[in-house]
Point group: C2
Chain length 351, copies 2
Amino acid sequence: MNSGARDLNDRSLQLLKTLVERYISDGQPVGSRVLSKDSDIKLSPATIRNVMADLEDLGLIHSPHTSAGRIPTVSGYRLFVDSLLTVKPLDSKELACLHQGLSDKDDNGKMIGTASRLLAELTHMAGVVTLPRRELVSLRHIEFLPLSHKRVLVIFVTNEQEVHNKIIHTDKVFTPSELQQAGAYLNSIYCGHSLISVRAAVLKELQDAQERMNQGMLDAIKMAQLTFDSGDQKDDYVLTGETNLMGFLELSGRDHLKKLFDAFSQKQDVIHLLDQSMKADGVQIFIGEESGYQAFDQCSLVTSSYSVNDEVVGVLGVIGPTRMAYEKIIPFVDVTAKLLGAALNPKTTTP
Amino acid sequence: MNSGARDLNDRSLQLLKTLVERYISDGQPVGSRVLSKDSDIKLSPATIRNVMADLEDLGLIHSPHTSAGRIPTVSGYRLFVDSLLTVKPLDSKELACLHQGLSDKDDNGKMIGTASRLLAELTHMAGVVTLPRRELVSLRHIEFLPLSHKRVLVIFVTNEQEVHNKIIHTDKVFTPSELQQAGAYLNSIYCGHSLISVRAAVLKELQDAQERMNQGMLDAIKMAQLTFDSGDQKDDYVLTGETNLMGFLELSGRDHLKKLFDAFSQKQDVIHLLDQSMKADGVQIFIGEESGYQAFDQCSLVTSSYSVNDEVVGVLGVIGPTRMAYEKIIPFVDVTAKLLGAALNPKTTTP
DNA sequence: ATTGGCACTCAATAAAGGTGAGTGCCAATT
DNA sequence: AATTGGCACTCACCTTTATTGAGTGCCAAT
């Protein structure tokens, strides 16, 4: 079951390659006849059968039943995408769409959604984009508004124009002007710092420097602590075009589809999966069961992290059937990630 | 094809009622035998067949084919829910869940999502809740932050704690302090007013009173006008538990399901449908094709508007198969709407 | 008006046969 | 030693043909 490319000669690999390509384009188990008729292959069906038997022994392909052709296994796909794939350049129309959609126009806040939609529409599969990680994002403005019952509404702006809000519970009741001062104070010292550093600084202040602060400052720091409490930083993503998958996976049964959609609305598993891609750079691919989540059994996920200022802040990708056109999808995801990163890049603020 | 209840005697109606109930619970066409065996009916199958023939003539039921039982038509369901239904009181456990979930705790902002989730989970169908209408919501705080290139980030808070934001393009470049003053000015005169009245007032100011304002005030008004420009008030809704529908509608084919899900992500049709319920008070029901949208062919929608301060601000409801248990769903939706309205009711602000 | 009886219809299920794509293996060929 | 043609065999898939049974409509009897 060792499936390294070493064990195989060029002919076998070439054969595997055409087999996978064929299966991806037709969706039917491919037999020795069709392969032998392929323009690049000048072997008789019988020979091909021998080679295919070898490939099957190595666990790269298998037949659904005796009298059917072969289809790639997960290992087969893996070998294919890792070593055999010849990536195609991006279609110029698609590239134009991407450029158009992700040009850094005004509506930066909707950029994530746009990216997801572009991924879905142009690939006819599902597109997913994580929201940029908060910790790597800088604080631009913070403000407190009083609510009833010792509750305070915190509004803070990050990264030029993303607005977040949260309700915190305070020990005592504040007047509007007290809250305003607290906001002003925090703005003056933390504006421009990354959220993660603000959080660290706030914790430090609370621990060792209480004596040299007046009550107002202390209150402000306490509220900041509540605001940037870790609990809230739930990562999230924008998923589009799920319905495209329905057409695709007709084959694989209803309950499978239900499991997949359930996973989408639970979000948790998807986030875990995407988090893994966060660590690696460049395009990553999860094929079928490789993901480790049952719901993604028949699906592949092609992802790439995207960066702002050379810092990875999120992941985007495409979810589709295992037999997707990797040679087109891979460069597509790659380019989209780069364009999104570029579009999110903070412009030099010149008010 | 006149299907008014007038044309039928009590026996026929009673028969129709049990037939519909039976079909809802079993999901199978119901024949004369089973009906005759029903405890409440003391008629022979033959008699029942005669009655059913009448009901079929009136377009209230029909058989999928000669040797199958009868199933209700849309008119049949309609008559059933309008005149025959005996609503069941709400299950006490479910009521407790609702109370618990919609108690006006801190996280008011998530209330809409919670309501949708409760609807979906407790009915095992899809739950939908529209966001409260903006116009009927009052302004609590507004604030401007400078961005690059004559762009300004507007943040405004409505209704206690809902935060909205929008980017507007201004004629000239403002300094942060100018923007702050503009915000303060607008807060001082419009705070507490409904968004719709603010918009009207702003327009009026722009038209007829320019001379008695200084430049700062004028700028503020202009920005307010841009902020509350009608274009932005896209209604929206929160939909949960769509996946529940997959289990339900196994029967009615894949492409139908796809159409439905597409309609969900388009949102437009759903919004139109929900808007209709906005006008009427109390629980409304759309059965199958009645909605007028093909995608909802095999679905029913049970809705109720919800009100804050005796003013209708939104709609919530449940989407499921036409053969849903109306007698349970109707009171359920009703109660949920009332509880949500109560929970959203602005508490007297006592800072 | 209600009922029992009877012929009839038709989906659904199962069984039976036919077709064809594909395989594995072996002996002949290069 | 690698390649190829030939051949028997397998098995999903399709079509055809019964078989069954739930249900109907109609009519004559109660």
